[in-house]
Amino acid sequence: MGTLAHSFEAAGLATVGLSLVRPHIERLHPPRALHCEFPLGRPLGRPDDPAFQRRVLDAAFVLLDRPAGPVLEDFPEVIDDDTEAPLACPVPPRYDPSVPPAVDEARGLRPAWDRARAQLGRTQVGRVVDADGIPEAVAGFVRISEGTPWTEAGLPGDPAAVAMDIRSYYEEAALSLAGHVTGARAAESWLFRWTETGAVLKAARDAMAAVSPPYEHILYLIPVTQE
């Protein structure tokens, strides 16, 4: 975003940016930046907390009053992520032994996902596959983990994008099961450390890496925080 700030300002638009990675901003020297020591993915800090978000915006917009730049200031509050505190969230009991456990699990989470969808009024699932297709997408990764080449596993699209839809499905179900907005990465850690599908995604990534597919197809399958 610092690069864009230079382009916009050169075109006559005043900019103020939120920063999540201070060393980048220190090197980019954008005209005005408010560094927020918040989890990556949450530049306004706290979801469902309009008052907190407003304080962040007020602190950013006040930088527009500075007579000269570059200006780099820090928001005074720090928020850490909860990668090491996985959500304590139940997983569905085994229901249909005729399908792999991960597929059974994905099916079992559907009511929770439906509740989240209704409550939120929108979803992040659907880059490649919608909620109806999630169990079969999980089945595709099961096949990859068992040795099927990823190009023959029946995935409905780019493996990383399909995996992101699966992750969003699980994280949205977790929001419903938890009953509140979780700390950053807590639901992610629940998926990758506690669920059958998380284990399948890791195993599929390992299987793909073993046969050297194009780099980008495995780069974004598993967050670095879950390695």
Binding site: A11, A14, L40, L44, L175, V224
Partner: protein, 143 residues
């Protein structure tokens, strides 16, 4: 995670252009995010995509289709405003804190490792679009 990202290369600039905006209560404000926003069913972002997408002021049913998996997604799932604070701007305008909200807002995506197109083409094109909208102030939000 933050430490790993901090080590990625970033461009260097010899100087910093600096525009003095009108008072905020008289300014038109737009959001430009790097969250990789899309409408459901739209063409996905490509690896290294340095283009941008345009969204109306009233649009909320947006997904974050940024290709990187290395940031929290659950916060955005719960509340889009944690990365794209369009509702906060609406409140600020209603209070008279900001003058107006642009009718169009933009999303780029990341990661963009080859920045020439962004600097020479799509960045200036985005600035031109916002300038034609009468935008005075751009709020930049990363993920």
């Amino acid at each position: 995670m933050r430490e790993m990202v901090a080590g990625l290369p970033v461009p260097e600039f010899d100087d910093t252009p600096f525009v003095q905006p009108p008072a905020l209560q008289d300014a038109t404000v737009a959001i430009v995010t790097s969250a990789g926003l899309l409408r459901l069913g739209e063409e996905p972002w490509q690896e290294g995509d340095s283009g941008f997408r345009v969204f109306g002021r009233d649009e909320r049913n947006l997904i974050v289709a940024h290709r990187s998996t290395n940031f929290d997604r659950s916060g955005i799932a719960a509340d889009l405003n944690v990365a794209y604070p369009i509702d906060r701007l609406e409140e600020m305008q209603a209070e008279g804190v900001i003058g107006a909200i642009a009718s169009r807002h933009l999303s780029f995506t990341g990661p963009i490792m080859e920045l020439s197109t962004l600097r020479l083409d799509t960045g200036p094109a985005a600035a031109k679009l916002l300038g034609e909208e009468g935008v005075d102030v751009v709020l930049l939000t990363p993920v």
